[in-house]
């Protein structure tokens, strides 16, 4: 009996002494980028860089993780904020007890002011133009920041959110590291930079004293895997827990078959439009542009791309943007297109020059459009060039028809200003991406920008979209969602609907359930 008891005791002790099945604490994420660019939030322009920076940095405000709309803006480094009635003066109360990574001390309003000035300087920022409306940035004390604007901005909170130049750097670190800041980024986010291996990975570790609580994951390895096939295989073999996907139905179906895989189509969608140069013949005749709009078959374009990764465009502004209006787009009607061309004096059709990127995703779309336009006798003379040349040449006004795929901060003001305001027309010092030389709705766009009443502002944005569609500055046809996949054992800590940076936001709550 004594022996039996002793054996039982030993058994129980051994059982209790067994370590529980360890919960995985290391996350491996794979991106399609070949290597890291500048890991400086004010200079990073590639999507894959901006995504990882969001795990390391905070902003004054943030869009709630899992959401992609400015309706979900919530406090981040700023606890609260107020503005004067005209919206030209904003005061932010900076959260106390936020610590920078490393030994760079507490984050204060001084850091916030420094960071915004850095983001607004053309010497240190790629987004300086976005901050042109800022007049004064002052730290009134350690916890109060005041921003004075030259004129009201409908998206000031967007500007200081976790998107582009809004991410906050720690002053002491930025000054001490200088140009080396991009090699050793110091933020306040849940994960801190640890190491970078060229063409391989960036490693992050939990920032244990993160102000929202210690992250549950211990490390994140962010791997650069440019080959789609290799990324898929690494996910299948279990070497990667989360990966950037491909925008095709086949990829979605194949990845869903991987045991334990979750496939997610994320907002915001990128809008696919062709921009018609209204200053060049024969596109200076609105009837020719209308003919093009009538022969583009939006439904067929979505089927061509894949209905699991794309949807029809509803306006010249992406669906989901604050202020987007479902304006009536031209119905598919090749007969009407031919009639319009005949009426414009082109009974035998027209030939248009296109500078086109050879990036497969864009080239395929343009070839499909070329086939559709041919139905009405509109011939596209495509000049295929590599992607950097495409970007340079379309800005030199060398393309009559420009296919452009874009998502911007999801407030209609941004898209309308960048793509359709005459100020933004290419070949000017203030140029952005108005390839059409559109000036159809300048008045409405400008009026909406300073309109304090949200309802009236939306009405102005709607009117602007209607005018742009009527003037056929652009023919929007589809929207492409961003695809990601991850293991079902990874719990992000929120419901994923979208992410402005086109990459899942990894917060202190992300964890593995096994």
């Amino acid at each position: 009996m004594r022996t039996l008891l002793a054996l039982t005791a030993v058994g129980v002790a051994l059982t209790l002494g067994q370590p529980a099945l360890a919960q995985k604490k290391e996350l491996v994420v794979a991106t399609s980028q070949a290597d890291a660019g500048k890991l400086d939030p004010h200079q990073a322009s590639a999507g894959a860089d901006k995504g990882i920076l969001n795990w390391m940095f905070n902003a004054l405000v943030r869009i709630k993780p899992g959401q992609a709309s400015p309706e979900f803006i919530e406090p981040d480094l700023a606890e609260s904020w107020t503005s004067n009635p005209s919206g030209t003066e904003w005061t932010f109360k900076i959260r106390a007890g936020v610590q920078c990574h490393g030994n760079y001390g507490a984050f204060t309003a001084e850091d916030a002011a420094f960071s915004l000035k850095r983001a607004a300087s053309k010497e240190t920022s790629a987004f300086a133009g976005d901050f042109a409306a800022l007049d004064k940035i002052e730290a009134l004390d350690a916890s109060t920041l005041r921003i004075t604007l030259k004129s009201p901005l409908p998206s000031l909170l967007g500007l200081v959110s976790n998107y582009h130049g809004g991410l906050m750097v720690c002053r002491k670190a930025a000054l001490e590291l200088g140009d080396g800041f991009g090699k050793n980024p110091i933020g306040t986010g849940p994960f801190a930079f640890v190491a970078y291996q060229p063409q391989q990975f960036v490693k992050l570790a939990a920032h244990k004293i993160y102000f929202r609580g210690a992250p549950q994951l211990e490390t994140i390895t962010y791997r650069y895997i440019p080959s789609d096939a290799t990324r898929d295989l690494a996910f299948r073999s279990g070497e990667v827990d989360m990966m950037f996907g491909r925008q095709t139905n086949q990829w979605v179906e194949r990845t869903k078959e991987v045991p334990g895989a979750v496939v997610v189509a994320m907002e915001p969608a990128e809008l696919n439009s062709i921009y018609l140069n209204t200053k060049s013949k024969p596109l200076d005749d609105v009837r020719v542009r209308q003919a093009i709009a009538h022969v583009v078959n939006r439904k067929a374009m979505v089927q061509f791309t894949g209905d699991k990764v794309a949807r029809e465009a509803i306006s010249v502004v992406p669906n989901g943007n604050l202020g987007v209006a479902a304006v009536p787009l031209s119905p598919y009607d090749p007969a009407k297109a031919k009639a319009l061309l005949k009426e414009a004096g082109y009974p035998n059709g027209v030939k248009l020059k296109v500078v086109q990127s050879t990036l497969p995703v864009l080239m395929r779309l343009m070839e499909a459009l070329q086939g559709q336009l041919r139905e009405a006798g509109i011939e596209l003379d495509i000049e295929p060039v590599d992607h950097p040349t495409y970007h340079a040449n379309i800005r030199k006004d060398l393309s009559q028809v420009t296919l452009y795929q874009a998502a911007r901060f999801p407030v209609a003001d941004v898209y309308l200003n960048q793509f359709f305001h005459s100020r933004a027309a290419v070949l000017q010092p203030t140029a952005v991406t108005n390839f059409a030389h559109c000036a159809a709705a300048d008045q409405e766009i400008d009026a909406a920008r300073i309109e304090p009443d949200p309802a009236k502002q939306k009405a102005l944005w709607k009117a602007a979209q209607e005018k742009i569609v009527q003037a056929v500055c652009a023919v929007p046809f589809s929207e492409q969602l961003v695809m990601w996949a991850w293991k079902d054992t990874l719990d992000l800590g929120y419901e994923m609907k979208g992410s402005l940076n086109l990459m899942p936001h990894l917060t202190e709550k992300a964890r593995f359930t096994k």
């Binding site: 070949a34 290597d35 890291a36 660019g37 500048k38 200079q43 322009s45 590639a46 053309k122 010497e123 920022s125 790629a126 987004f127 300086a128 133009g129 976005d130 582009h164 140009d179 991009g182 090699k183 291996q197 060229p198 063409q199 391989q200 791997r223 650069y224 895997i225 440019p226 080959s227 096939a229 290799t230 295989l233 690494a234 299948r236 073999s237 070497e239 990667v240 060039v385 590599d386 992607h387 950097p388 040349t389 970007h391 340079a392 040449n393 800005r395 874009a406 000017q428 010092p429 203030t430 140029a431 952005v432 991406t433």
Partner: protein, 312 residues
């Protein structure tokens, strides 16, 4: 020997300088704005102009050239326009990976290719010869990226013996696991080529009078093949290996991408896509130096293998 090396070094200098000038001109003929690439599509015109000024891209071509040559001579190759990291550091971080892959795959190619080439020649027009010729033809016809994906599917997914991401470090077994599939993928092509060259070189030598004499003297056939035939057939084989060493450094890009290994190939493709002038220039200099170095090594190897070749 010393005079030979000095002469080769002088020639290498002239080659290097010509390449530097050509590279400088070629990268600037490429269309596309590096500032736009660096700052991205969101950048406004003012930020673009500021960056062009900071990078010296708004200076006259001759001034940029003078700066580039001075930098190249003093070892200052500048910083990458895209990452902001020093060009030399970026190259040196990945160069060992490329050299490792090239050397291991070449060794594999030679170890497989030379014996099979010899066997095929010795068994000319027999089953072994036919099989070797067909296999080598297949090896040559198979693009490296196809064999790479097949290897990954078979040996990393179906039989999980090797990792998909072939860039593990830290231990000998991790190194072995990482190098095996990429080296096999790249080595297969080399093996195929070396097999064919060895076979034809051996066939030529085996029909020589001195081989017949050696056999007539009663020398055992394996010794005849090894000492009299193979040694004399080595010159074309070394030529091929030398050529391949240079080509393979460039050809490894697809293997690097599929197996997700760091390397010069990936670096140069990235620099080209991003119009990273500084990086492209640095890479070209490194490639030139490597090719010149390999050529010198090949010349030296000729003299060592065949005493009739004088290093003059």
């Amino acid at each position: 020997m010393i005079a030979f090396l000095v002469r080769r070094a002088a020639l290498a200098l002239v080659t290097g300088f010509s390449v530097l000038t050509l590279v400088f001109l070629i990268v600037r003929v490429l269309p596309g704005d590096p500032a736009q690439v660096v700052l991205g599509e969101f950048a406004g015109e003012t930020a673009l102009q500021a960056l062009r000024h900071r990078l010296g891209l708004d200076q006259p071509l001759w001034a940029q050239y003078a700066q580039f040559i001075a930098g190249a001579l003093t070892g200052d190759w500048g910083v990458s326009l895209v990452t902001g990291r020093p060009v030399i550091a970026e190259i040196m971080a990945v160069l060992p990976w490329t050299i490792e892959l090239t050397v291991v795959s070449l060794a594999l190619g030679a170890l497989v290719g030379i014996p099979f080439g010899v066997l095929a020649a010795v068994h000319r027009n027999r089953a072994l010869d036919y099989v070797t010729r067909i296999a080598s033809l297949l090896g040559l016809s198979f693009p490296a990226f196809v064999s790479a994906v097949i290897l990954l599917l078979a040996l990393a997914i179906q039989l999980p013996w090797f990792p998909v991401i072939s860039a593990q470090t830290g231990s000998v077994s991790a190194w072995f696991q990482s190098i095996t599939l990429p080296a096999v993928s790249l080595g297969l092509i080399m093996a195929a080529y070396i097999t064919r060259v060895t076979r034809s070189a051996m066939l030529e030598v085996l029909s020589e009078d001195y081989v017949r004499t050696a056999r007539a003297k009663g020398m055992p056939w394996p010794i005849v093949v090894r000492r009299h035939a193979l040694r004399n057939a080595l010159i074309p084989i070394i030529t091929v290996i030398g050529l391949f060493l240079g080509i393979q450094i460039g050809n490894s890009v697809l293997t690097e991408i599929v197996f997700n290994r760091p390397g010069l190939g990936k670096l140069i493709v990235g620099a080209l896509n991003q119009r990273d002038y500084a990086m492209l220039q640095g890479m070209m200099v490194i490639y030139t130096l490597l090719v010149v170095f390999v050529n010198v090594l090949t010349d030296i190897a000729y003299g060592l293998v065949d005493p009739r070749v004088k290093l003059q």
